[in-house]
Every structure is written in C-alpha cells, then in structure tokens.
Amino acid sequence: SQKIEQNSEALNIQEGKTATLTCNYTNYSPAYLQWYRQDPGRGPVFLLLIRENEKEKRKERLKVTFDTTLKQSLFHITASQPADSATYLCASPSKGIYFGSGTKLNVKP
C-alpha cells in the first residue's frame, strides 16, 4: 500500500543552525508533495509545494527538495529560530491530501 513516512523522533537543534527534515514515500510516485507546519492544538498551515519535475523550491528561509530516485523529499529551515519550533508535516496528493506522521522540531536558543 502507499506510504508516506517521516522520522517520528523529534529533531533538536541550536538556534542559527539549519534544520533538515526527511519525508520518504513507498509504493507509489506522487506528482507532488506538500509541506505543512502544525502548532499544538491548531490546524496545519501550508508552507511549500514541490512537483516531481522540480528539484528544489525555496521560500525565504525554507527549501524543499524532491528526489524521485531516492523517493524522498527534504525540508530545510536555514538560520533556524525558536519560533520555528513546531511539527512539520509532509503531505501527498490524491483527491484528498494524505499526511505523514510529522516530525517535531525543537529549536533551542
């Protein structure tokens, strides 16, 4: 069956460093992937979308890559700040949008 997987362990980094989060997918080839941010008790907020024919997408301090050979997307936050602390969700399209389990990012001052 189709699976979209994220590292369930929290990622702890120091302020100012680059955070890198991983999303892997198996048994299918999504036309695109989306990344969302979710804060506790709140709904997900869209960040970026990358299509299968795009290698890289950027938005301010955010960068997403899509490697169809590795079946993987990487999400980077450069110059991380404590305000970036949240859970980051990878999402895959269908007629609905299916989410990975998310990776919690903790940025320490």
């Binding site: 695109y32 989306q34 979710q38 008790g41 709904g43 299509r51 949008i97 299916y98 989410f99 998310g102």
Partner: protein, 118 residues
C-alpha cells in the same frame, strides 16, 4: 485574510449521540475536506467533497459519517452514534482549485473542533 472557520471549538457528547460539526470554508474555494487527529497521532484524511458530492473517502469514513453542504456557505460533518474512539480534533479544510494537471493546490485548515465522547 480569508480563513476557514469551525464551530464549535469544543463539543462534549454522550456515547451513542449524534453530533454535527460545522465549517465555513473560504468563499471562493471549491474543494472541501474533513480530517481528524486523535491526540498525539497523525492528521488523518476522512473525506473530500467537490461539486456537491464526495470525491474521495478513506476507510475511516464509514456509514457512521456523512457530509453535507446544506447551503452556499456551510459544510458539515455528521457523526452518528458516537463512540469513545471518535474523540479527536476534527479539522475542516478547503482549497481553491486543482491545477491544470488535476493536482490539489494548498489546503487551508480551520482551527478545529475538539470532540470529546464520554
């Protein structure tokens, strides 16, 4: 800035009762969704709705659930005969369109309704 609004923010119901969760999607959006998130778990897709009919549903969305767009603004999720395991945060979302390739564009989420079944 336009937003998806959900009411109520918190609903407590007795097991076996029916509940209706309400959502007002963003006005020019055409695609509507319901998701649930059990505490500490992932956001799970329930159903998508377009052109007044269900376009996709997950295995979670069984006969206990139904959706409706009763007028031009509201989008509702009805849960019949609630069970303890239905306790979760329920999110409504909407998106403007699909692009020319048929791919979903970004989804905008409401703040959720926390359903507690006792």
């Amino acid at each position: 800035e336009p937003e998806v609004t959900q009411t109520p923010s918190h609903q407590v119901t007795q097991m076996g009762q029916e509940v209706i969760l309400r959502c007002v999607p963003i006005s020019n959006h055409l695609y509507f969704y319901w998701y649930r998130q059990i505490l500490g778990q992932k956001v799970e897709f329930l159903v998508s709705f377009y052109n007044n009919e269900i376009s996709e549903k997950s295995e979670i969305f069984d006969d206990q659930f139904s959706v409706e767009r009763p007028d031009g603004s509201n989008f509702t999720l009805k849960i019949r005969s609630t069970k303890l395991e239905d306790s979760a945060m329920y999110f409504c979302a909407s998106s403007e369109a699909r692009d020319s390739g048929g791919w979903n564009t970004e989804a905008f989420f409401g703040q959720g309704t926390r359903l507690t079944v006792v």
